[in-house]
Symmetry: C2
Subunit: 644 residues, 2 copies
């Protein structure tokens, strides 16, 4: 009747891997780009739309501002990537914002960066999956009602794959990224060609919809500037995931830092190209963003591939690989979150089990925790990615700012090194370098710009949802510190550093064993026999609620002098029904009055039924007793089982 | 942070009663009638309507058949009551169908009767509560949508009162029964007076509605007879609860049997009077039953009290006390079900905890079980009593038939007794009697008639829901027998009857103690110190997953020779992640290979966090280990707690 949970686990997760199998296959640049770039590149599926979504309140005319904003964001991508190339070279063992901030700005600032990243990793999963599902429902509109269950199913699927332990290097993972990039590039080039009537292609059907402004705003007013800032902030989701490579430098083939840096540059170039291309085409095709209906990318591909032989193939290619690259982007959350969780757990700021690897050598607890939170977020926002976007990008901007501020401090240390001198920090080794001034200015500019963007994002998106993140991040930091304090206390308590104090602290064992017996039968005799082995001073205790019971116990007791001769039997007459109450009272009395500050042992006979149904037929006295005595520090409960 | 469940229990249930407080206050006839008769008398709230509900398919003309059917049922009531008076005199210690059948027809038949009664007690609660709520919604129609939540709330209220332990004798309980009887009698008399223009009262407004037949049936056809049988079967719900007095003879003042018998007769007279009165008036006022709308009783009282000063008072009086007496009737289910559960548990046919009384000396488990099932039934039937009625009355008819068949057998024993001779059965004592033949014929007639009615009810209501009961009763009997077999097996296993076999069966205790240690700290040292008290042969076992851990453990181990000098430390290198697996494997290996058929002790250091949140921060290794070893018969797990 019993389900073997282990058997189920084997089927779901597969057989365990030996720990020694964890040596890593390294990534070349082609695959590295595909793996790490899926997150920032996939942002193109929604970043342009996010900008247009803000501008549209001023009517379709205002959509012309999409392009300048997109250029600004592209410039920001270039700046951040350049800054991160410097980080990669100085933190070849992984230079996530947490490590860099910890190394240069102190633990508290690092925790702040970690909290920010944690929120962003969760949103990477929720937003990417929601957008991926939207790519599917844009192509198959009847599925739109199933958005939430589909999104949850997708998260569970990704979680399951990760629990089984995928190697980051699977070539199969590289394909969707390149297929998406190729598909979108073809769409953009085809769109440009058709727009300008090149290559004899039919011109694009123009069906410009003119939407009036839903609010009237003077273009020279503060309100207008505010709106532009909001649109800019919305587009900043394009930057999420850029930092991923800096975390994963060690995943690359040698020379790791150099390969990672090159990949970073390529990633930036591709992301910027697609972003600018999509923004340009969407604006010039006069596309209109809709609330959770067909996405801008889908509208664009639809328009470009219209009236072309093979056009449908292109359309479904782009939609399919949009969905796939977005799911792949969600998967990067599954790489980053458990890894950061591991670092935090190792340093004592998250539950220690976050650093335990499962049977398949992955951080199973982190994966499960992320899945839980991501599903909660999806349900809360009904899997509508446009509603989640205001929460997104704050975390990543905080981590950009802090990581680059850390670099500024690092340059200070480097500038004090003479040629040939090295400085070993906790995480990395620094050498003398040239042009430190310029490099420092670059990171300072990066920190400053992303800092300003952070303020803009937080301010403009505050009421739309950013307040949630503004609330959560300090809460997380507070939790990290509380957890750290707890582990500190436990470590102090368990510490064996002072030999004598340790020995003194070990409680003595009282020479008494209490055996509660409801009756004298083979089960209780078995417990008595065990108890006699433990101590010469065994006390059988029976709570007597009626005379028949007392007579029966005494009669049977007398029949087994081998076991019962020397032992006392304590009969406690009790006029209430809850005998556990009385038993607990007696045991605590013995513990505190007769043997204070010693370990008192209670041997409890426990009947073990064969299955859950049989369990319903028996009192749970042993279980209840154990639970009741659980909180008593000086009482040891031993269950002596008897099976049918 | 932790809720004290005991504190909550105290608030809900009240302080415990001492067992010695269970001596019973005895009932006089007036209160005895009120308590025991509430169930059969309250049936008048729906029994007439149940008949009319069947007849109405033939149109309003067919309702004239209500009266003859009602007379037949009244005759049945008289017959059953007379039979039961004989049962009461021969089973003064309680003559429920279970006891009588067990004493005369054997255990298996008795279980059948018990199963039948169990289903009926559940339905007593569900049907009475549903009908009681309908009395309220008939007076306040807007509440009709809240029927189900109101019904559930009523069941929970009754359950709560019973868990607190009401004495059956509360005078306050007597009032609704008499108030209901008085109200209905006044209504009937007033109705008759107005119908015949007596006492200068205004004649009744006649607004006869003529409904056509929804099916055409020849009055001489078999189909017509079938319909009349169905109507008769429907009316038989009036008989439910009649047997209650026979169960509760001991609740009466001395002479118990005589007082109980007198009360039984009065109950029958009142029930018959009301039933015939309501049926007569409902037919002559040409009332039409509606599906779950206003009840017939409400229509009747409304009509009779119309255009009379004070008429509204009468109407609300009757409705209010209909609701109250029905809730009181539901309460009888709460008296009967746990009591029968106690008998069955005592004989080993239901879970043994059904015979345990709670703090307030009531059978709490039976009360909770009944509540659970009654709520499920209410939800399943959406608290519509008309839909539940087809399930009702089958159980009670089975118990009537079996109890009276038992009496027929009993008269056989009595007839063999010579004057002055007595016969002690398991439950009662029999003496020589006169006129045994006639008395036997009476019970035989009762058994025969109720047997026939049982067949009629089952057949006519089969498709409407009686099949559920026809399925459940054998299922219950089967469960009773399975439970009995299980307890028999356990009792054999625990039996100490054979001294030598018992002593041989007690497993020896192996002289070895295994202490799994993840690390050497105060917690594990505490466990080691305890283990040393148990045995000279202590084995500390560490599962080593990396070299640092091994070096750390050995270094710390060497620092405490007081505790560790003589003990072996077993280091087990393990290349997988799930160390519990390896630990369990090792322990089972030691148990089965080194010490087969002996009790091997495992001492597990367990960290006890201060609260649930702190628990999240720690591995549950000790818990998991205990769970994994739970099924091993020869392994004893001892948790040595360490608290912050």
């Amino acid at each position: 009747m019993q389900v073997n949970p282990d058997g189920l686990k084997r089927i779901l997760i597969g057989r365990p891997f030996p720990t020694s199998a964890s040596a890593h296959e390294r990534l070349d640049k082609v695959r590295g780009l595909a793996i790490f770039a899926s997150d920032p590149i996939s942002s193109n599926a929604y970043a342009t739309e996010a900008i247009m979504h803000v501008l549209i309140v001023l009517g379709s005319g205002a959509l012309a501002m999409t392009m300048p904003i997109a250029l600004g964001i592209a410039a920001l991508i270039a700046l951040v990537c350049t800054s991160y190339v410097q980080t990669i070279h100085h933190y070849p063992h992984g230079g996530g914002a947490y490590s860099v901030a910890k190394d240069n700005l102190g633990q508290h600032v690092a925790l702040f960066a970690a909290a920010a990243l944690m929120t962003d990793y969760v949103l990477t999963v929720s937003v990417s999956v929601a957008a991926g599902i939207r790519a599917i429902t844009s192509a198959f509109p009847p599925l739109v009602e199933l958005r939430l269950p589909l999104a949850i199913a997708a998260v569970l699927l990704i979680a399951w794959i990760n629990l089984r332990g995928v190697r980051e290097s699977g070539t199969v993972f590289a394909f969707p990224t390149y297929a998406f990039v190729a598909g979108v590039l073809v769409t953009i080039l085809l769109g440009l060609s058709r727009m300008y009537g090149l290559f004899g292609l039919p011109p694009l059907d123009a069906h410009p919809v003119v939407l009036p402004a839903s609010v009237a705003i003077d273009p020279w007013s503060l309100a207008y500037t505010w709106l532009l800032l909001r649109a800019f902030a919305a587009g900043c989701t394009a930057l999420t995931g850029i930092e991923a490579i800096s975390n994963g430098v060690t995943a690359f083939r040698k020379p790791e830092a150099r390969n990672a840096a090159t990949t970073m540059v390529w990633m930036a170039v591709i992301a910027m190209t697609l972003f600018i291309g999509i923004s340009w085409l969407a604006t010039h095709m006069a596309l209109i963003p809709t609330d959770e209906g067909e996405s801008i990318l889908s509208q664009m591909t639809n328009g470009v591939s219209e009236n072309l032989s093979g056009g449908r193939v292109l359309y479904f290619w782009v939609q399919a690989f949009t969905a796939l690259i977005l799911l792949l982007a969600a998967n990067t959350g599954y790489q980053d979150f458990p890894r950061l969780g591991f670092f935090l757990a190792r340093d004592g700021y998250m539950p220690r089990w976050m650093q335990n690897r499962g049977d398949r050598l992955v951080y199973s607890s982190g994966i499960l925790l992320l899945t839980l939170i991501a599903v909660v977020v999806l349900v809360a926002f009904r899997a509508e990615e446009i509603r989640m976007l205001p929460l997104y990008a704050i975390g990543v901007m905080i981590s950009f700012t802090l990581s680059q501020a850390g670099m500024v401090v690092l340059w200070g240390k480097v500038s004090r090194l003479k040629p040939g001198e090295t400085l070993r920090t906790e995480v990395t080794t620094l050498h003398h370098e040239r042009n430190v001034g310029w490099k420092r200015i670059l990171n300072a500019t990066g920190a400053l710009v992303t800092g300003v963007v952070l303020v803009v994002i937080t301010a403009t998106k505050f009421l739309e949802g950013a307040w949630i993140i503004a609330l959560l991040i300090p809460l997380f930091v507070w939790s990290f510190l509380a957890i750290h304090r707890h582990y500190g206390r436990v470590a102090d308590m368990l510490s064996t550093n002072e030999r004598e104090a340790t020995l003194d602290s070990l409680t003595d064992v009282a020479d008494v064993v209490i055996v509660p017996i409801p009756d004298v039968h083979r089960g209780t005799l078995r417990a008595l026999k065990y108890a006699k082995k433990l101590s010469q001073n065994v006390r059988a205790v029976a709570i007597i609620t009626d005379d028949d019971q007392q007579a029966r116990i005494l009669r049977r007791w007398a029949r087994f002098p081998e076991l019962t001769k020397d032992e006392e039997i304590h009969l406690i007459n009790y006029d209430y029904r809850d005998i556990i109450d009385r038993l607990v009272e007696y045991i605590i009395e013995v513990s505190t009055e007769e043997y204070p500050n010693q370990l008192v042992t209670v041997v409890v006979p426990e009947f073990i039924p064969r299955n859950a149904i049989e369990r319903l037929l028996h009192n749970q006295t042993a279980n209840m007793l154990r639970r009741r005595l659980h909180a008593e520090p000086n009482i040891v409960v031993i269950d002596i089982h008897y099976h049918v």
